[in-house]
């Protein structure tokens, strides 16, 4: 069987899918980061064999009977093999027990509907109850239009759960990957104790085409890149993919030390 070849958008080099996956979806030619599926991301950063999935059975329904939504959902489930755009669960990273979520841009551009909101909310509640930190690999086109205002309200619902978890003295590390936009940027992507971003990722609130249409201005080079967000003070650090597991493990260790010593009262 012929190998699937994938072309790098940056340098044009074609690489076999299997080789690319082995290389952490980094272009062997120019070092450009390709998008990763949620499962690939989890496999990359978690300690081997420690991941336990939560709420994998939750599936979106077409609550508003929105046109063409059933077909879109069906197609997304078929192409990704996932039930929705986020995978949540428990794992160890660098030996530290962690609650973890990873969003998947292959599933309707990781838009946030009620299932995404519910799974992430449940994860933060689980983490608060079990005194665990949360690491979230984020990407999203924003709130899922097909679920109307119910999607929008997930921003508030998840934010409340993140706040609850934070008030319990626990650590949350969002890692912003390509692309992180819209309602997700305007909620749990920006609510971390430490906010990391992958080099080159698009991170912003408004879409670039919308900004150009609204203002009639040409966007500056590198606008809304991870580097732009770092420069403007909205992310703490750029996270190289190859060493990401090690760096995350280190941050988790530093931010759960007090918890291990039992310095916080049980809430």
């Amino acid at each position: 069987m012929a190998e699937t070849m994938i072309r790098c958008k940056k340098c044009g080099q074609e690489t076999a899918d299997a080789q690319l996956l082995k290389n952490g979806r980094i272009c062997p030619c120019c070092g450009n980061y390709f998008r990763m599926s949620a499962r690939e991301r989890i496999a990359l950063v978690t300690d081997h064999g420690t991941f336990r999935e939560h709420d994998g059975e939750l599936k979106s329904r077409n609550i508003l009977r929105f046109p063409e939504y059933d077909e879109k959902l069906e197609k997304a489930v078929e192409t990704t093999g996932e039930n929705d755009a986020v995978i949540t669960g428990y794992a160890k990273i660098g030996g530290v027990p962690t609650a973890l979520f990873a969003m998947d841009s292959n599933f309707m551009m990781a838009s946030m509907g009620t299932v995404v909101g519910e799974k992430i909310t449940r994860l933060f509640e689980y983490a608060a109850e079990n005194r665990l930190p949360v690491v979230g690999f984020i990407c999203s086109g924003g709130a899922r239009m097909q679920e109307g205002v119910l999607s929008l309200m997930q921003m508030a619902k998840v934010s409340a759960a993140v706040r609850w978890h934070s008030d319990a003295g626990l650590f949350y590390l969002p890692v912003l990957t390509d692309p992180t936009t819209g309602g997700v940027t305007a909620s749990y992507a920006m609510e971390g104790d430490i906010i990391a971003a992958e080099p080159g990722a698009l991170i912003g609130f408004a879409g670039q085409r919308v900004i150009e249409q609204t203002t009639g201005e040409k966007l500056p080079k590198g606008f809304q890149s991870a580097e732009f967000q770092l420069e403007h003070g909205f992310v703490d650090l750029l996270l190289e993919r190859r060493s990401s597991g090690t760096v995350i493990g280190r941050l988790l260790t530093a931010n759960t030390a007090a918890e291990r010593r039992g310095m916080y009262e049980r809430v």
Partner: protein, 258 residues
Amino acid sequence: MNAYEKVALARASDRLMGNWYIGQIIDDFTELHGDRRYSDDGAIVGGIGFLDGMPVTCITMNRGGSIEDRIKRNFGCPSPEGYRKALRLMKQAEKFRRPVICFVGSPGAYCGIGAEERGQGQAIAENLWEMCALKTPVISVVVGEGGSGGALALSVADKILMFENAVYSVISPEGCASILYKDSAKAPEAAEALRLTAADLYRMKVADAIIPETYRTSEETARILKKRLVSELTALKKVSVPRLLASRYEKFRAIGAM
């Protein structure tokens, strides 16, 4: 009236908005300016006044009146500094234990280069984060168009009241139509699909009450609103802070819960 006709009413340039209602129902309103970080955003107006003798903090989106005023207020589309001003005033209300009333009505958060450079997403996120845990009653009144995240940043509240002809949506019908049908002229169909009317939001348990607009004059509508705000706030002020926060959590937790 179909959904898109409601959208047109909610947006109408002569529609009376939060600033007018504040003038009608709040006594001795004193406007307070600035976010203490960057500037004073005219798209958001906030201050202190008295509702039936009760001190309250009021925050409203303001689209402006005359052409010059509209331009100055960026047509009611707040920048990050507007949300940060709103948050500053909400934290002040929390400190002095007075309730907060927010009025929503604008196309949404401003989409511009400067807004992105100053962290539009972060500003909205911080408001959500703080409003979830604000230790004083918060009521949000959707008067006109509730546009997406920019509206949500003023409506993480204990009670959401919606005017009968107000709308609240995740995306504008035009934006939705251009994505869905590749044709923004199909906005009326998109408006229907989005379920954005006050009746829809009440049915979905996002809005807690609808303020009728069937009265002969806007002054009468304002009196009805005032009566409702007084009774809601009187009830909310009797609730202990932990219970207030727990039920606010539950209100949003229940939306789309499985």
